[in-house]
Symmetry: C2
Subunit: 232 residues, 2 copies
């Protein structure tokens, strides 16, 4: 940790990632929301943490809710975009494996563990409806692919195992939260482990699809995921 | 839902479970914490929801943190007790399957989805140390059993798959949170599905241990679990 210089007290991150004020505001808010809580953080504190005036913050975000909504959207947007880039003529097992892999990698890669904010009662209110719908749509996509891996048909659609791949990928959030308390590091193998488990919980071995899924993920990975994926 | 009578505004649960004031306070706090948030709920609001005076509440709990700590402990205590009742001469696969089954059933059974509070930044502070340690001890127990199922030895101990059974069981919390938004009902098969998945993610089919595990769980189930387990 860098020693704070003289003057106004600062948070632990004197230089924030991002070259724009907007990116710095998002990073500061992410830190404060995840370390101190959403309800107890004010836009004033966020502005202070960036080193700008509260009035300047309002040029970028009208409310604290807007900031949270932007942060929450960022936890699903890359995965939705990745999913849309996939060729649906690939077998469902490959698609599910690749989707889980990419999603787990991007949930691991964020500087702050924003998924931990999903459970906030506030997120159930109106300003977050678009996020909630986006996340449920993604959950449905996982469920549909899982049902297809389970053999398709109406029986597979109501098989409760189809629920499990999405739950496995979101376990990254809990693992990160616990690692924080444990002072341990995220296991670099985690995205691949979860991508494999997403199939094995459906009773479908993953050996024959892992290489193809990895190729799909590496093919689109941008540099924010590089650190996580390079390990593989 | 019952229509509220005249007089002081009440929450949606006019008669709370529990015959003691302490139990009613815990139920009201659980409702408020999970529907409105922890930081934004005062002990005054909890007392109001029970219909007692704030001073009476302090006869039972010194602080709001004490109430939360009691609620959090209740999410792991039954499982720890169940685990201690198990005969360690049973095969690890049976123990892991039974532990997951019971734990998932009791996480499904609570009136409020208290596990959703695990992620609160406040829970990282000192008053919740005993809870955090208890939960990490339980996570370690899952990991140790999983490592044994994976074949034992130092290699199995560092196999990241050993992490997955505990994550699967806690996915009950996310599933409940989403069902709330989805207006769907918890799937009665969920505990068994997760108990099976806890083995299949380790590459170990569950067919030969499911009956034994069910017998162990049903053997100790108290009436709070009855509703969930009776379905099986």
């Amino acid at each position: 940790m860098t020693r704070a210089g003289p003057g106004r007290p600062r948070l632990t991150s004197p230089r924030r990632p991002g070259t724009t004020a907007r990116a710095e505001i998002l990073d500061a808010a992410a830190e404060l929301f995840s370390t101190r809580g959403f309800a107890t953080t004010s836009t004033r504190q966020i502005a202070d943490a960036v080193g700008i005036r509260q009035a300047s913050l309002y040029n970028h975000f009208a409310t604290k809710n807007d900031i949270l909504a932007t942060l929450l959207d960022a936890t699903i947007a890359p995965t939705v975009e990745f999913d849309e880039s996939l060729d649906d003529s690939e077998p469902a097992a490959v698609l599910l494996c690749a989707l889980t892999w990419f999603d787990a990698a991007q949930l691991c890669a964020g500087r702050w563990n924003l998924g931990a904010l999903y459970m906030l009662p506030e997120v159930r209110s109106e300003p977050f409806e678009a996020f909630r719908e986006g996340r449920l749509r993604l959950a449905r996509r996982y469920r549909d692919l899982a049902a297809e891996v389970l053999g398709g048909g109406p029986l597979a659609g109501s098989d409760p195992r189809a629920e499990l791949p999405f739950r496995l990928v979101e376990s990254v959030i809990d693992i990160r939260a616990d690692r924080q308390m444990d002072e341990q590091v995220i296991d670099a193998q985690l995205p691949e482990i979860l991508a494999t488990a997403a199939l094995t919980v459906l009773g479908r071995p993953a050996e024959d699809v892992v290489d193809r899924a990895r190729a799909l993920v590496v093919g689109v990975a941008d540099e924010s995921l590089e650190a996580v994926l390079a390990q593989k």
